[in-house]
C-alpha cells in the first residue's frame, strides 16, 4: 500500500493520519486533507470513470467542484450516493467508493462498444433514429436506452440521515475564501461588521492553497491560514467552510448548503448530514474565483489529461504528481507557471506546447511553438502527438498533460437575478455585467482580476465600498501581479474527435453538426447536443462551445451571446431542500383535545387538513370498518352518540357592525337573527359560486360565533379579513379565529338532551332551549361553556364547547354520564353517513363548481341586500332551467352499489360524455335503510323525483339503474330535530 506518486514532503495534508479506503474493491491509503481524487492519483490511479454516452475511460479533469469526469458512487447501503465528484470528496478513514456508468469492470466496460459506434451516436442521434416505428419507442427503444444511459444508481433505500434548515442574518456575506474573499473578510471583520464567510472547500484559502508563490514573507497557504485564524478569533465573523452558496435570491437572500457530516463515514449522533441555510444579508461580495478551461484537440479526454491548474493543485496542495512526465499545452502565461511549479517538485516536463509565437522561453524546460493534435493510451495517456508551427511533428512521451486555455471568472451568482455577463477581450472571457443582484459587489478573479495582488486589493476595496468604510484597510502583503497574456485559442483542427464537454461526450464535431442543421441560438445548441448539461452544468465546457459556435457562424462571441446560470451553483441533494419535512413530519400534525381518549378506545384516525380525526371506533369482534360505522350510526339514531367536531373552523365576530358584516359575507340575511339563536349560512365567492357553509350563532347583539368547514377554516378566515379590511374598512367589527381555543363535541340522538342535562348547569328543556338556540352556559358546576342546538345528523342534537384545556375532561364526563344511555362515540365516517342520510351538503357538494341554485338553496340568496357573490350569482349562465340540482339517489336493486364519482345517463343509449346528465358526489351504505344511498347533481333534478335513470361508472365497472329521490332520506319533515 504505497502512495507512489506522493512527494516526500510538502502539501497541506496530515501525514501522521493514515486513512485506508477502497475504490472499486481495491484498498488504498491517503491522508487527512486529501480528496478522493488526490488520494487516488497519489496511488497511481488515473482511471476513475466512464463517460456518459461512449463509455470512454476517464480520469480527473479538475481539482474542484467543476469536475465533469470523476463521478463516483460514494458509500454503500442506504447511504450510497451517486454522481459525487471525487475532486470534492474529503477523504476519511474507511471511505468506500465505486466507479459508475460501466457494464463489467472499469477497465473492461462492455458498453465501450458505443465508442466504436460514435459515427452514429452524434448530436441529435436519439431524435433522428428512434422516430420510427412510433410504437417501438415505448416498448423497445426507451427501455434499452434507459438501461444503458444514466450515470450512477440510487440505493432505493430510505436516506437514514437528517437534513436541517437554518436562518442566518449578517451585514456582509462573502462568497469564497480565496485571496479576495479573505482580504474582504479581514477588512469587514476588523471594522466590526457582522460577516459570514462561506467557502465550498473544507480548507479556506482558495487558489492560495494551490500556488507556490509567496505573499510577503509567507507562503500563500500560510498567509491564508494565519488570516483564517485571525478571522476565527473575531466574534463578529462566522466562518463557514464546506458551505456552498447555491443561489442569489430576491432581496438579499442567499441559499447555502453546509455539508456538516459529508466528510465523515456517517454523521455523529444528533448531527445532520447537511444544513440548508437561508442567509439574509444587507450586502454581498462575490469572490468566487475563476475556473480554468481546457483546449479541445483530438482525444483530449484520456485519463491523465487535465487542467494545468489542477496539476498545480495536486502538486502544491496535495503533494501529488499526476505522473512523473508531464507536458503542458497552453495559450497563456499561466500554463508556464504550472511547468515551473512541477519542475520544482522534480517532475520531468516533457515540453510546454504554446500556441503563441511570442511564448516566453525558459532555460528549465523545452518550449515548443505549435499544437497538440492527438494523444495515445487506451486507459490513460502515454503519448501526445504535436504539430509544430514550423511544419514538423513530434511525439512526446508523457503520462499527464496539462491544458491551459485561459480562465473564466465564476460569474454564476451574478446571473441569478437575470444579470448577463459581458465579454472582456483582454481576458477572452465573460466578466460580470452591469446588472448585479441588489447589494452585490464582485471582487478578485470572479471580476476578472486574475492576479493575486489584484485579488487582495480588490477584496479590500469591495468590503470598504460595501460597508462605507474609509481609510487604508489592512496592510496587504506583496504578491504576484503578472498579466496572463492570453491568445484566444479554443480548439485544434483535427479529423477525429475533440472533446468540449467530456461529461456529456460533446465534441467539436457535434457543435459543427448542430450549426449545419440550423441550431443557431446558444440555448438550442445546448439542448440539441446536451452541451453543458448534467452535474457540472458546463463549467469547463460552455465557453468553448460558444466560441466554436461563433466561429462557425462567422460572428464574434458576444454577438452569439452567452448562456446565463440558474441556481444551484453545484448539485444539491433533494434531502437538503426537504429538511425535516418528510414522512410524518411532511406537514404539521394537529391533534384534537380528545385525541388521547380516542386513542385509548382504539380509534382509527384519518387526516383532515392537518388534523387527525377519529374515523371510526372499532370494537372487539368487528372485522370490517363498515361493521363499526353501521353500529355507530344505528346507536346514535337509536339513543345517543358523541363526536369530536373541534376541527370545524370557529371565528369570533364582534362589534356594533357584526350583524351587518355577516350580511356581507353570507348570501342569506343575518341582521334580524335574534340573540340566542343560530342560523345556517351559505357563503358565496364573488363569482357566485358557493364557497363554504356553516352556522352563525348570535351570543349578544354585537357578538357572533361563526363556524366553517374543517378544510376551509383558513381560507374562509382570510376571506373574512379581506372583506373587513379591504372592502368595508370602516365597519366596527373585529375577527379572531378561535378554532384552537374551544373543544367542541356534537352530542346527537333522541337521548342527547338527557345526557347533557346531567352536565349542563342550566335548563335545556325544549321550551327553554329550542331548536337552533345558542347560549353561553356553564357545565359541571361552573365551567364556562357554549351550547348550540344544531344538528348535522338530523337527530335531536347539540354542540357543546368548553375551553380547549377542558376538552379531554368533558369527553370523559360525557361518556360517563351517557353510559346509562349507551352513548356511542362516532367518527367521521358515521358523521358522513348521517349527513348523507339527511341530505346535508358538504365539501363534496360545495366543490368549487356549484352555485346556491345547484344546491337547492337558490332562494336563500337575498336580493334585498349587498353580499359577496350576490350580483354575479344572477348571471344568466348560472340560472338556466336545465341547471344541475342536488338530488338523492337510490338503487332499484337494493343490493347494488352506487360509487361516488359515477355519472348519470338515460336508461338506454350510449355511454358517453355527450349523454352525461349529472354525477354522484357522495355515497354510502345507509344502515337505517338497508341499501346504498347517494347525493348528486342532475340536470333539472328537482323536477325529476321518481324518475329512473342509469348510473354508470366505467372506472369501477358499475352500471346500474337508480331512482331519483329527495336528498332527505331520513326524517324529511325534521320532526326529530325539533323533538
Amino acid at each position: 500500500m504505497t502512495q507512489k506518486n506522493r512527494f516526500e514532503t510538502g502539501g497541506q495534508i496530515d501525514r501522521e493520519s493514515l486513512h485506508k479506503f477502497t475504490f472499486d474493491g481495491k484498498s488504498y491509503t491517503g491522508h487527512a486533507g486529501d480528496t478522493l481524487a488526490s488520494a487516488l492519483l497519489a496511488n497511481g490511479v488515473r482511471l476513475m470513470g466512464r463517460s456518459f454516452k461512449y463509455h470512454r475511460p476517464r480520469g480527473v479533469l479538475t481539482a474542484g467542484s467543476e469536475e465533469p469526469n470523476a463521478l463516483v458512487e460514494l458509500r454503500g447501503g442506504a447511504r450510497q450516493e451517486p454522481n459525487t465528484r471525487a475532486t470534492t470528496i474529503e477523504l476519511y478513514d474507511r471511505l468506500f467508493a465505486k466507479s459508475q456508468n460501466r457494464l463489467g469492470s472499469l477497465k473492461f466496460d462492455l458498453l465501450a462498444i458505443n465508442d466504436r459506434l460514435s459515427n452514429f451516436l452524434t448530436a441529435g442521434f436519439y431524435y433522428k433514429t428512434f422516430m420510427w416505428p412510433a410504437a417501438f419507442w415505448e416498448k423497445l427503444y426507451e427501455p434499452i436506452i434507459r438501461h444503458a444511459a444514466g450515470l450512477g444508481s440510487l440505493s432505493l433505500k430510505e436516506d437514514p440521515d437528517v437534513y436541517d434548515k437554518g436562518f442566518l442574518h449578517c451585514d456582509l456575506l462573502i462568497i469564497g475564501a480565496g485571496p479576495s474573499g479573505l482580504a474582504a473578510a479581514l477588512t469587514a471583520g476588523r471594522a466590526g461588521a457582522d460577516v459570514i464567510l462561506a467557502d465550498e472547500d473544507f480548507r479556506m484559502g482558495g487558489r492560495l492553497n494551490s500556488e507556490s508563490y509567496a505573499l510577503g514573507d509567507m507562503s500563500g497557504a500560510d498567509w491564508a491560514a494565519a488570516t483564517v485564524a485571525e478571522l476565527a478569533s473575531l466574534p463578529n465573523v462566522r466562518l463557514m467552510a464546506r458551505t456552498t452558496v447555491i443561489g442569489a435570491f430576491d432581496h438579499g437572500i442567499y441559499g447555502a448548503v453546509e455539508r456538516v457530516s459529508d466528510h465523515l463515514r456517517e454523521p455523529q449522533p444528533d448531527k445532520p448530514r447537511q444544513i440548508l441555510w437561508r442567509i439574509y444579508t444587507k450586502r454581498t461580495i462575490l469572490a468566487a474565483g475563476a475556473t480554468e478551461r481546457p483546449i479541445a484537440f483530438d482525444n483530449n479526454d484520456r485519463p491523465g489529461i487535465m487542467l494545468a491548474s489542477a496539476l498545480r493543485t495536486y502538486a502544491n496542495r496535495f503533494a501529488v504528481a499526476a505522473d512523473k512526465r508531464v507536458a503542458i499545452f497552453t495559450n497563456n502565461d499561466d500554463g508556464h507557471r504550472t511547468a515551473t511549479d512541477l519542475q520544482a517538485q522534480g517532475i520531468k516536463i516533457a515540453a510546454v506546447v504554446d500556441v503563441r509565437a511570442d511564448a516566453p522561453r525558459s532555460a528549465d524546460y523545452e518550449v515548443l511553438h505549435g499544437e497538440v493534435v492527438d494523444t495515445k493510451g487506451r486507459l490513460g495517456l502515454t503519448f501526445a502527438e504535436l504539430k509544430l508551427t514550423d511544419g514538423s511533428s513530434r511525439t512526446l512521451e508523457c503520462g499527464a498533460l496539462g491544458m491551459s486555455g485561459g480562465w473564466n471568472p465564476n460569474v454564476h451568482m451574478t446571473c441569478h437575478q437575470r444579470g448577463r455577463p459581458t465579454w472582456n477581450a483582454d481576458l477572452a472571457a465573460f466578466v460580470p455585467g452591469e446588472a448585479l443582484p441588489a447589494g452585490m459587489t464582485v471582487a478578485g478573479a470572479a471580476l476578472g482580476d486574475l492576479s493575486t495582488a489584484g485579488a487582495l486589493s480588490g477584496g479590500v476595496k469591495a468590503a470598504q465600498s460595501a460597508l462605507d468604510l474609509s481609510g487604508q484597510g489592512p496592510d496587504l502583503p506583496q504578491a504576484e501581479d503578472a498579466p496572463i497574456n492570453i491568445k484566444p485559442f479554443w480548439y485544434v483542427e483535427g479529423c477525429s474527435r475533440a472533446w468540449l464537454d467530456p461529461q456529456n461526450d460533446v465534441t467539436v464535431k457535434d457543435v459543427k453538426l448542430s450549426h449545419q442543421e440550423g441550431f443557431r441560438s446558444v440555448e438550442h445548441l445546448k439542448r440539441y447536443t446536451t452541451l453543458g448539461m448534467a452535474t457540472d452544468q458546463g463549467k469547463t465546457s460552455n465557453m468553448g462551445g460558444l466560441a466554436i459556435m461563433a466561429e462557425f457562424a462567422g460572428k464574434t462571441i458576444p454577438e452569439v451571446g452567452t448562456t446565463i446560470f440558474r441556481p444551484p451553483y453545484t448539485p444539491t441533494a433533494i434531502g437538503a431542500f426537504g429538511g425535516r419535512h418528510r414522512g410524518q413530519e411532511f406537514h404539521p400534525k394537529r391533534l384534537t383535545p380528545s385525541h388521547a381518549w380516542a386513542e385509548e378506545r382504539g380509534a382509527v384516525f384519518v387526516e383532515a387538513g392537518n388534523w387527525l380525526r377519529a374515523q371510526w371506533f372499532p370494537l372487539p369482534g368487528e372485522t370490517t370498518w363498515r361493521e363499526s360505522v353501521d353500529r355507530e350510526v344505528l346507536a346514535t339514531r337509536g339513543s345517543a352518540g358523541v363526536c369530536d367536531v373541534t376541527t370545524l373552523g370557529k371565528v369570533d365576530v364582534q362589534g356594533t357592525d357584526a350583524a351587518e358584516f355577516l350580511n356581507k359575507i353570507y348570501c342569506n340575511g343575518f341582521a334580524k337573527l335574534a340573540v340566542g339563536k343560530t342560523r345556517y349560512g351559505l357563503m358565496l365567492r364573488e363569482d357566485g359560486i358557493a364557497m363554504d357553509d356553516g352556522t352563525a350563532a348570535r351570543l349578544a347583539d354585537d357578538h357572533f360565533v361563526v363556524t366553517t368547514t374543517t378544510a376551509n377554516a383558513l381560507p374562509v378566515y382570510r376571506h373574512m379579513e379581506f372583506v373587513r379590511q379591504c372592502l368595508f374598512p370602516d365597519m366596527d367589527v373585529q375577527l379572531i379565529s378561535t378554532t384552537e381555543a374551544w373543544a367542541q363535541y356534537a352530542v346527537a340522538g333522541p337521548n342527547s338532551r338527557k345526557v347533557l342535562e346531567k352536565i349542563v348547569d342550566q335548563d335545556i328543556s325544549d321550551e327553554a332551549f329550542p331548536f337552533m338556540a345558542c347560549a353561553n352556559i356553564t357545565v359541571c358546576g361552573g365551567l364556562r361553556a357554549r351550547l348550540f342546538r344544531i344538528s348535522f345528523s338530523g337527530e335531536l342534537a347539540y354542540e357543546i364547547a368548553v375551553p380547549t384545556a377542558y376538552g379531554d375532561a368533558l369527553i370523559r364526563r360525557i361518556m360517563d354520564e351517557g353510559a346509562e344511555f349507551d352513548i356511542t362515540p362516532y367518527g367521521t365516517e358515521a358523521l358522513g353517513v348521517m349527513r348523507i342520510e339527511k341530505g346535508h351538503a358538504a365539501g363534496n357538494e360545495l366543490n368549487g363548481t356549484t352555485t346556491a341554485q345547484n344546491l337547492g338553496m337558490g332562494r336563500m340568496v337575498s336580493k334585498k341586500k349587498d353580499s359577496i357573490g350576490s350580483v354575479l350569482s344572477e348571471r344568466e349562465g348560472l340560472n338556466t332551467d336545465t341547471d344541475l340540482r342536488q338530488i338523492g339517489i337510490k338503487p332499484v336493486d337494493p343490493s347494488a352499489s352506487v360509487p361516488a364519482g359515477a355519472h348519470l345517463m338515460k336508461l338506454t343509449g350510449p355511454i358517453s360524455a355527450a349523454e352525461d346528465q349529472g354525477y354522484v358526489t357522495s355515497a354510502c351504505y345507509s344502515p337505517n335503510l338497508g341499501h346504498a344511498i347517494a347525493l348528486g347533481f342532475l340536470q333539472n333534478g328537482s323536477e325529476r323525483m321518481g324518475e329512473r335513470i342509469r348510473l354508470v361508472s366505467p372506472l369501477t365497472g358499475v352500471e346500474t339503474e337508480v331512482e331519483i329521490v329527495s336528498a332527505h332520506f331520513i326524517d324529511p319533515e325534521g320532526d326529530r330535530l325539533r323533538a
Binding site: R718, Q725, C726, F728, P729
Partner: protein, 95 residues
C-alpha cells in the same frame, strides 16, 4: 422576498399569502345600473403588467393584516408597502 410590513418591519415573504391585483379593493356598487357588467369586469379582467404592480398580500402567519405591496413583477423589487385598510379608505371605501 422580504416585505417591509408598515407595522412590523421587514418580514419574510413565506409568512404571507398572495391574492393578486389590488384592484380587488375597488368592488363595484351592487345597485348601479351597470352592476352586472361592473362585477364581471371586477372579477375577471385584470392587467398583467411586466413592471410595477399593486398587489394584495395577507400576513397570514403574522398579524393578519392585508397589505398592498407595490412590486415590480420583473425584478421583484418592492417600492411601497401599505395597510390595505388605509389604501381602501384612501380610495373612498367605508362601510
Amino acid at each position: 422576498m422580504i416585505i417591509d410590513h408598515p407595522l412590523l418591519g421587514p418580514r419574510d415573504a413565506s409568512e404571507f399569502t398572495y391574492m393578486g391585483d389590488a384592484s380587488l379593493i375597488d368592488r363595484p356598487d351592487w345597485q348601479s345600473e351597470t352592476a352586472a357588467r361592473d362585477f364581471y369586469e371586477y372579477g375577471y379582467l385584470r392587467d398583467n403588467p411586466a413592471g410595477w404592480h399593486d398587489e394584495l398580500w395577507f400576513h397570514e402567519a403574522g398579524d393578519r393584516s392585508w397589505l398592498v405591496v407595490t412590486r415590480n413583477t420583473v425584478t421583484h423589487e418592492i417600492s411601497k408597502v401599505a395597510l390595505a385598510r388605509d389604501v381602501a379608505r384612501a380610495r373612498g371605501r367605508s362601510k
